[in-house]
Symmetry: C7
Subunit: 94 residues, 7 copies
Amino acid sequence: MLQPLGDRVIIEITKPKEQTVGGIVLASNAKQKPQTGTVVAVGPGKLGADGKTIKPSVKKGDEVLYDKYSGTSVKYDGKSLLVLHDKDIAAIVK
Amino acid sequence: MLQPLGDRVIIEITKPKEQTVGGIVLASNAKQKPQTGTVVAVGPGKLGADGKTIKPSVKKGDEVLYDKYSGTSVKYDGKSLLVLHDKDIAAIVK
Amino acid sequence: MLQPLGDRVIIEITKPKEQTVGGIVLASNAKQKPQTGTVVAVGPGKLGADGKTIKPSVKKGDEVLYDKYSGTSVKYDGKSLLVLHDKDIAAIVK
Amino acid sequence: MLQPLGDRVIIEITKPKEQTVGGIVLASNAKQKPQTGTVVAVGPGKLGADGKTIKPSVKKGDEVLYDKYSGTSVKYDGKSLLVLHDKDIAAIVK
Amino acid sequence: MLQPLGDRVIIEITKPKEQTVGGIVLASNAKQKPQTGTVVAVGPGKLGADGKTIKPSVKKGDEVLYDKYSGTSVKYDGKSLLVLHDKDIAAIVK
Amino acid sequence: MLQPLGDRVIIEITKPKEQTVGGIVLASNAKQKPQTGTVVAVGPGKLGADGKTIKPSVKKGDEVLYDKYSGTSVKYDGKSLLVLHDKDIAAIVK
Amino acid sequence: MLQPLGDRVIIEITKPKEQTVGGIVLASNAKQKPQTGTVVAVGPGKLGADGKTIKPSVKKGDEVLYDKYSGTSVKYDGKSLLVLHDKDIAAIVK
């Protein structure tokens, strides 16, 4: 199991080749390759300026849209995972 | 449905090819391609330095002018959407 | 009508081709193309570090000198407008 | 008249071609073209982190040495002016 | 022995050539070469904005995934070590 | 006389060509050309985050080692001067 | 004698050509040339955000590993010295 640190979130990428998830077709902008995935693990959060922990804004199971070539991609137990920062998640697909 | 996170706003782009909306003709500056759209979803806001949430400055239904190649473009239910940060919205068209 | 957000100001550009306004001839520096215009709309201001709003330093009707290739240029009702940040206004022409 | 905003200062450039003013010969460093001029107008200052205004450190009439290719150069009533930020003034010539 | 300073952590790199550790196969993203290793030493932490020490989020013995070409690689007693900052550790492998 | 502003310090450069002062031979690093000089004038200091003035850490007469291609070089009364920021002074030669 | 300022530390470089000190063989990463040396002088520290001085984390006599092409190299009394910032010291060799 991979336990993300700080404000990191681990996502299982859904069909990275096809780029269609639940009816969504993603068009890429300049320098951006948007993709969707399902959150599989969430870090404890990071410290804010006032010394309190700011928790990531997503939870395990959320289907999310993330907006950048970011994070570290890892293959684990046959799954395509991506470790990225909470701020790189653009929206939750509901 | 897409629920934007933090200070993100989702906009439905209006006629991105023609660039004329309600009598406005947009001329692009160097490195900027201004466009207009209608706000379809607004995030909860982001934390300010004092730990209070700063809400986005637009609301659902606003017609807005945004000023940069920014955000993640998404096609959803046949609509052209753009997920961008509140700070990238330049003005409200009234 | 365009209502600027945050610390943005909308300016109606005066004779952008000729670069002479009220006796002023503008010479451009490296990477800078100074121009003048008249303020037509002012945003509500932005939040300072102490959580108070800092209002833009110009008001509607001011003739101003701005110092950069910045903002979003827009044509509206036949006028050449520029949406820019308060900090990009260099001086008021009195 | 040009009234500078924020921490800006307007300087009348003295002999920008020759680079000798009152016995001073200026040698340029890499990427820097030092020049001197006389302050003709001073902005009201900018807000510091504690919300108080920090006034520019020069006053009208000061002969100054400024250290960068910065600001907006303007010709006004036959004078060569430069609108620059207070921090770009290196020293007062006394 | 190497005692890391501040928020630095020293890691013993595990099979940097093969990139497979405990069933994990690492795929590299643009500009990133993810690797795993075992923590062998941890710094005392760094000062946060409130003057309190923020300890690194890993401890000696943790198997970690780090996400960048960062730190200083050192050979010591035949081991391949890497001195990096706590923030460059993406996740703990459990 | 040149009166430096803010945290600036004016230094009279000692033998900039030879690079040997008081037994010190300076070797340049990548992108750095270290030199020594004598402090001839010191600015009043700059404001810290708490609103108090932080005075430069050198005084008139100090022989100093500075570490970068920085500041504005000026010839004045036959002397080679350099106006630089306090933070660009690396050490005092005692 | 060289007295470093602020958070600077002066190090006497040990065998910069061979890169082996006390059994350590240093391998360089991209853009980094790690080296070791002995601390010969330590600055008084720098001001933290709360106005208190943060002392450098090493003391005279420490053998250290530093991680970048940083600082100003100086030859003094036949010794190869390096003036660098405290943050550029990666670890203490014990």
